[in-house]
């Protein structure tokens, strides 16, 4: 299948590959998809005290467009606020990468991964409100 130059670019030089400490309180982790379906995305965000995403990382098991979609998503997330990140739509990714119809689900998966990462971060920090001291502890280490 001929892919767009942008897909090839992200596939050949994926941005922000790697992992953040999933136990850190300022990190949100989203893992979506299933190996038996041929796509698993892990997307992580690191959020500062102002609610701004200072780092984003991904690892993806999947086809070329799944890898490109997650790479692009991390690129977009960096520097945005969590609020802005919630507004990311799969169609933005699909359009940017010119994904063919059979690959739209890759962009859906990327949106889901972003949402899941935000949810995880929110969950952790809602809980940590009650125990701020512990959060400070984690941040220092």
């Amino acid at each position: 299948m001929p892919y767009s130059d942008k897909v090839m670019d992200h596939f050949t030089n994926p941005r922000n590959v790697g992992s953040l400490d999933k136990n850190a309180l300022d990190v949100g982790t989203g893992i979506v998809g299933a190996p038996e379906c041929g796509d698993v995305m892990k997307l992580q965000i690191q959020v500062d005290s102002d609610g701004r995403i200072v780092d984003a990382k991904f690892k993806t098991f999947g086809c070329g467009s799944a890898i490109a979609a997650s790479s692009l998503a991390t690129e977009w997330l960096k520097g945005r606020t969590v609020q802005q990140a919630t507004e990311l739509r799969n169609s933005d990714i699909a359009n940017e990468l010119s994904l063919p119809p059979v690959k739209i689900h890759c962009s859906v998966l990327a949106e889901d991964a972003v949402k899941a990462a935000i949810e995880d971060w929110k969950r952790k920090n809602a809980r940590s409100d009650a125990s701020t001291g512990q959060m400070e502890e984690t941040k220092r280490t």
Binding site: Y3, C37, F61, C63, I67
Partner: protein, 402 residues
């Protein structure tokens, strides 16, 4: 000699035309253009003579006589003609057909159509290597069975079936045996007499011949097999397949068969050597590599491997200088991974991670080494990206600790 890129390792999909085949065809594409059915002039006679010569050549590769060969447009048409043609002809005798779950779609879909038309089809499940045993076939035969259709070699994994033993069961039970030998012909010896085959499909483009031509072997003696034609018209090919004969194609098929007959004994071990060199070089460079298919009872040219934690299409993109195929869903229009791999019990996860390699007549050791290196590099790069591989490594570490 410098390596020429890209490298073609997808010979189960199709093969390049052998130059000797092209040479044999050329006159019939140019000066000797006659219609083989023209009985009243030299153009027609020449074409007819060429067709009959090719019929002998084709029959010679499979232990048949020339009159048993019905030329078609390829193996898909041959399979349709054999299965639907036999079912319709012998409907009075019975309505039961035996086949298996990992046949090519060109056998599965005609059988499904017959199911819709009221036939009973038994879909045998092969073992984990992809083998359908003669015992399974024997157990499935009833007094209503009119046709057994089992392939000689599987197109995705290369596993060979015990064709002669299945043929013996068919003979003993008085049931017709159709064998789709598209992948096997030219790579391993096929003999319709020794194997008890009544109907056999083959295609030229898998054996370094042209596309758009194939044939169906139709036994004329012991028993005489009759088929309801699927193409009505001028009554060509003993009435079984109407339509002006594709003379250059037929000449090409004949020439390709002669080359296979003469060179198979040398070519098969050479292909096996290249195939195993590819497999071993890859396996030496990577962990979590799994062979799909039978370890030994396999086509000399085919090796299908799953690379855990890596998706097949992504791997093909990583090694874009090497042409291969994948059982991943991402390479097909459907979202399902290979039905062949599923049927032999490969998990969906590993089916998505599968790559089929098929070496061929013109493949060199140098090309194989290049491809193996590209695979190792590609898999390693993608595993660095893979959350599943990361998890597997963590699990291994924690297990080691425990």
């Amino acid at each position: 000699m410098a390596l020429k890129l890209p490298i073609y390792l997808d010979h189960n999909a199709t093969t390049p035309l052998d130059k000797r085949v092209l040479e044999a065809m050329m006159p019939y594409l140019t000066t000797d253009f006659g219609n083989a059915a023209s009985r009243n002039h030299a153009f027609g006679w020449k074409a007819e003579a060429a067709v009959e010569n090719a019929r002998e050549q084709t029959a010679g590769l499979i232990g048949a006589t020339a009159k048993d060969i019905v030329f078609t447009s390829g193996a898909t048409e041959s399979n349709n003609l054999a299965i639907k043609g036999a079912a319709e002809m012998y409907r009075e005798k019975g309505n039961h057909i035996i086949t298996d779950l990992i046949e090519h779609k060109a056998v599965i879909d005609p059988c499904k159509r017959l199911e819709q038309a009221g036939f009973q089809v038994t879909w045998l499940k092969p073992d984990r290597f992809g083998v359908v045993s003669a015992e399974q076939v024997a157990e499935a035969v009833t007094d209503k069975t009119i046709l057994i259709s089992i392939m000689a070699a599987n197109n995705e994994i290369g596993t060979l079936n015990p064709v002669a033993a299945i043929g013996a069961v068919a003979k003993q039970r008085g049931v017709l045996f159709h064998c789709d030998a598209t992948q096997a012909v030219g790579k391993i010896p096929m003999d319709v007499e020794a194997m008890g085959i009544d109907l056999m499909s083959l295609s030229a483009h898998k054996i370094y011949g042209p596309k758009g031509i194939g044939c169906l072997y139709v036994r004329r003696k012991g028993p005489r097999v009759r088929l309801t034609c699927q193409m009505d018209g001028g009554g060509h090919e003993r009435g079984m397949r109407s339509g002006t004969l594709n003379v250059p194609g037929i000449v090409g098929l004949g020439a390709a068969c002669v080359i296979c007959r003469c060179e198979m004994a040398d070519e098969a071990p050479r292909l096996t050597g290249l195939r195993d060199r590819l497999h071993q070089t890859i396996a030496a460079g990577l962990d979590y590599v799994f062979l799909n298919g039978h370890p030994t009872q396999r086509l000399p040219n085919t090796v299908n491997l799953s690379f855990a934690y890596v998706e097949g299409e992504a791997l093909m993109m990583k090694m874009k200088d090497v042409a291969v195929s994948s059982g991943s869903a991402c390479t097909s229009a459907s979202l399902e991974p290979s039905y062949v791999l599923r049927a032999i019990g490969v998990s969906d996860e590993l089916a998505h991670s599968s790559i089929r390699f098929g070496v061929g007549r013109f493949t060199t050791g140098e090309e194989v080494d290049y491809a193996a290196a590209a695979v190792v590099r590609g898999v390693n790069e993608l595993r660095e990206l893979s959350p599943l591989y990361e998890q597997a490594r963590e699990n291994r570490r924690s297990q080691a600790k425990a």
